[in-house]
């Protein structure tokens, strides 16, 4: 085939330019460290590159949320723990107050101690997180949940649960419900509560009672009415029927519908002791009840009976409150475990995504460096060849 001189030069220089631009492209890869900079560099993987980058960005926000939630839960757990401590201290105070040897003045000083513990509970209930948001208000986190309304403490929050996203589609609750923990504590022994009627004129006392047969519990209210100082009726106050009448023996167990209570002391005709189920009270009300009882003056046995009953009821409520605290701490502990797991999964996912992205986008230095070396050698050879062939011409040999 004939070779046109102009074409031969043009073609050689085009090949040289092509070799140079390939070399430059490899150089760019080596200096930037990226094999893929635009979608056309690797259209097959362009989509996966975009979604992997997405996952990594989301990962950072999950990590931030995890760290935030960790702080919130720790604070929540420690606050709830402190609430439990105060409740336990208050209960001890109440137990001590049961000491019959205490004088009115002694009991009044205990009332002062309980008052300060009540204030501590309010302060703990109104705890705020680092954000300045109230921990126990539900969704109303801008409002302090517990405030004095008249003579009692009222709840200004709601029972909203705020979830924090710690993984794709995975939310863990960050706040706690102040209503359930502080305000709706079950009264009594966990199933039913006993109380001496405020109008009693005798010095009878009732204990907190136990459940002997849960299967026959009715959930109804009952009353033990004394028809004389030695006889009593057991009445179902829901159906208003007298279930039985029996003689009164101080300290003897009285059983009704799966429950057993003991009445002691000397009640008189007309005295009444009520058994209720499903009633709740707030821990603040319980403390108020105890404080009121301790501030009473004791002149007679009847007064002492009243004080004793008030203290007993308050102590039961505080006991239930303390159980709630234990349950809440366990629940928060469960949340913290879930958070730890989520954090570990996050780390694994982040590692995977980072490796995938690197594999797709980054240059393989070993391969690129050897490719660069080969292309460089090729270019040098092409240049040398061109220099040699372009020198040859017949005109040089014509005399």
């Amino acid at each position: 085939m004939r070779i046109g001189t102009a074409f031969a030069h043009a073609s050689s220089s085009a090949l040289l330019t092509a070799a140079q631009s390939r070399l430059l492209a490899t150089q760019a890869e080596l200096s930037s460290g990226k094999r893929v900079t635009t979608p056309s560099d690797d259209p097959v993987n362009a989509s996966q590159i975009a979604t992997t980058r997405s996952s990594l960005t989301m990962q950072t926000s999950f990590a931030a949320n995890q760290s935030f939630l960790n702080g919130e839960l720790r604070q929540l757990e420690s606050t709830v723990g402190s609430v439990g401590d105060v409740l336990a201290a208050a209960r001890e105070t109440l137990v001590a107050a049961g000491n019959g040897a205490y004088s009115d003045a002694d009991r009044r000083s205990l009332a002062v101690a309980l008052t300060s513990q009540r204030a501590q509970l309010v302060a703990l209930g109104n705890s705020r997180s680092a954000d300045g948001q109230y921990l126990f208000s539900g969704f109303q986190s801008g409002l302090a949940p517990f405030y004095q309304s008249g003579s009692a403490i009222a709840y200004a929050g709601d029972n909203g649960t705020r979830g924090v996203l710690v993984g794709p589609g995975l939310a863990i609750q960050s706040n706690s419900d102040g209503q359930g923990l502080f305000m709706s504590v079950a009264k009594g022994n966990g199933t039913f509560a006993t109380a001496a009627s405020a109008t009693n004129l005798g010095s009878g006392k009732i204990d907190s009672g136990i459940v002997v047969n849960p299967a026959v519990l009715t959930g109804n209210g009952y009353a033990i009415r004394f028809t004389s100082s030695v006889t009593l009726d057991i009445v179902n106050t829901n159906t208003n029927t007298v279930l039985s009448s029996q003689p009164y023996v101080p300290g003897q167990a009285i059983s009704v519908d799966g429950m057993r209570v003991e009445v002691s002391g000397t009640p008189i005709n007309g005295d009444q002791f009520v058994i209720t189920q499903g009633q709740t009270s707030s821990v603040f009300d319980a403390l108020d009840q105890a404080i009121a009882a301790l501030n009473m003056s004791t002149f007679t046995d009847v007064d002492r009976a009243r004080i004793s009953d008030g203290l007993r009821q308050a102590a039961s409520t505080l006991e239930q409150g303390f159980n709630l605290v234990l349950a809440k701490r366990a629940e928060i502990g469960g949340r913290m475990n879930a958070l730890d797991q989520a954090a570990n999964v996050s780390l694994d996912r982040e590692f995977e995504n980072t490796s995938t992205l690197s594999r797709l986008q980054d240059v393989d230095y070993a391969e690129a460096a050897s490719r660069f070396s080969a292309q460089q050698t090729g270019l040098q050879a092409a240049l040398a060849a061109y220099a040699q062939t372009s020198k040859m011409s017949l005109f040089d040999y014509i005399r």
Binding site: R2, S137, S141, G142, G160
Partner: protein, 541 residues
């Protein structure tokens, strides 16, 4: 006697051949030059008693080494290579716009979703809310800027199209002039080699701009036609290529071929899609296909994102206690009536379901009894006797009375990228709760969950962006491959042409020696004839 004339003829022939050779040497680097050679034929012999006596050599013609088939191959591959190279070159900036890097739309979307996830854990925190507003603004601005850059590319391409058309017209004029000169010179009986080379080279330059086919006439002139049919040059008359407006979509261009001037002019309109080859075709294809696709994909993402987020956001309550606040605002979809419509119908489009949107324009035709809606991207047609009609997440309605034969063009998502903007700037207006409580984050969680939903064509937004990125990458890559293949074919054709018509300096050097010898030999013949004559004259002394 005859010896002298034979020698002289040999001298003249050798001289003509040397001339041709030196012309070749001088034009070794002239583009489009075909090497010339003197064609020598022997003169018919003189009858004499002793046989036919030769009368020397004559130069019949100077012929250029030219192969019509090879030339045709060069013309064709040139037009294909120019078209592919132009379109591939124009596509590169679009490719960069959709890259997965920190400046891209994908990253801006990711950061917006990320800020929502973080803000959802602390809905009362003003700093987190401000971060959401700020990342949303950045996302909107990325959409706007990308749309703006695509528009800029469109405007630049328009300018390039006009420049290409002007170039085509200039070249067509030159072809016409050359046709005239060549047909005049044909009367002389000898081929006007230089004019022919020039014309072939200009045709090749024309093929660089737009693919053309040629037809030789009996008077030597070459008629030039655009690949789809209309004549560009007939004899010495050149027509003009003009750029006009598509009556059915004011932003689109059509190419027209106009012959004559003023009142005597006639015009033919051709669709951009009927052209084949040349930079003009590449530019028009980019403008009408690639750029429109890119804008539609961008607009679809923006429209679906804004629509979906708005529908969740408007369910929530903001810090002022109000419901129904939108997060983004969108430009309304556009609809155009064909300027040739006879009826009074006016069409309008609304976006109803963001997740069903397609990245396509639509055409609505009314035939008198029913409406046919065609999705231009794949040609799918849907017919309905009445409007409004809901299709691909859009509700298409008609007001007024269209006539049979009227048509309309819908650009539902084309301006989505340019038209998206923020509906709020105050972080307090972010609707994170389902109530006005400060710690209520339920709507914020719903907003954060949008990032994981199959919100667009069965994909999440981030997957949808990845798909767009892959589509653009595949198109660009495909064009680059086409371009390099076409380029190779052009090189091959040029190699063949050089093989036939190219000057080889070594060959010319050899020819110089050869014809120089012939010249010297013929000169010797003349001097021998002179000596013989002198001898004759000396006889008489």
């Amino acid at each position: 006697m005859s010896l002298l004339s034979v020698g002289a003829s040999g001298l003249a022939a050798a001289y003509a051949a040397l001339n041709a050779t030196s012309n070749n040497v001088a034009n070794v680097n002239t583009p489009g030059y075909s090497r010339q050679a003197a064609v020598l034929t022997t003169m018919p012999g003189q009858f004499s008693g002793g046989g036919y006596v030769g009368r020397g050599v004559a130069v019949e013609t100077i012929r250029r080494a030219f192969n019509e088939q090879v030339n045709g191959q060069v013309q064709f591959t040139q037009s294909q290579s120019s078209e592919a190279a132009t379109q591939s070159q124009l596509m590169r900036p679009v490719d960069k716009l959709f890259a997965s890097d920190d400046l891209g739309i994908g990253s801006a979307m990711d950061r917006f979703f990320s800020s929502l996830t973080q803000a959802s854990s602390r809905p009362a925190d003003m700093a987190s809310r401000a971060a959401v507003v700020s990342s949303a603004q950045q996302l909107v601005s990325r959409f706007n800027q990308t749309a703006g850059q695509l528009d800029e590319l469109g405007r630049n391409t328009d300018l390039a199209v006009r420049a290409t058309a002007a170039q085509i017209n200039t070249l067509a004029q030159k072809v016409g002039t050359l046709n005239n000169a060549i047909s005049i010179s044909k009367a002389s009986g000898q081929p006007a080699n230089d004019l022919l080379d020039q014309r072939d080279y200009i045709i090749r330059q024309l093929n660089e701009q737009v693919g053309v086919t040629t037809l030789e006439q009996s008077d030597g002139s070459l008629n030039v036609f655009l690949s789809s049919g209309p004549a560009l040059v007939v004899g010495s008359t050149a027509s003009r290529v003009t750029i006009g407006v598509d009556p059915s979509a004011p932003q689109r261009q059509v190419v027209g071929v106009t012959t004559g001037n003023g009142s005597g002019s006639s015009s033919v309109q051709i669709a951009a899609s009927s052209l084949n080859g040349g930079a003009l075709t590449g530019q028009l294809k980019f403008r009408e296909v690639n750029l429109v696709d890119a804008k539609n994909e961008l607009g679809r993402l923006a429209t679906a994102l804004a629509t979906t987020f708005n529908s969740v956001h408007q369910l929530g309550t903001n810090m002022n206690g109000s419901i129904g606040q939108a997060l983004f605002t969108l430009a309304p979809p556009q609809a155009f009536a064909n300027s040739l419509n006879a009826g009074t119908g006016s069409i309008s489009v609304a976006v109803t379901t963001g997740s069903a949107l397609q990245a396509s324009d639509y055409r609505v035709d009314y035939d008198g009894s029913q409406y046919a809606v065609m999705r231009l991207q794949d040609g799918t047609r849907t017919t309905s006797a009445t409007l409004p009609l809901t299709l691909d997440g859009l509700t298409i309605s008609m007001t007024g009375a269209p006539n049979a034969g009227d048509s309309f063009q819908l650009q539902a998502v084309r301006n989505g990228g340019a038209g998206i903007s923020m509906a709020l700037t105050d972080p307090r207006l972010l609707s994170f709760g389902q109530s006005a409580a400060a710690g209520d984050n339920r709507n914020a969680l719903s907003l954060a969950a949008v990032a994981d939903q199959a919100a667009l064509g069965g994909l999440t937004f981030s997957q949808a962006f990845g798909e767009v990125s892959a589509k653009i990458g595949t198109t660009t890559n495909g064009l680059e491959i086409s371009s390099s293949v076409a380029d190779k074919l052009l090189s091959q054709a040029l190699a063949d042409q050089a093989s036939v018509s190219g000057v080889n300096l070594d060959e010319e050097a050899a020819k110089l020696i050869r014809f120089q010898q012939a010249y010297q030999a013929s000169a010797k013949v003349i001097s021998t004839a002179q000596t013989i004559f002198q001898t004759l004259l000396d006889l008489g002394r």
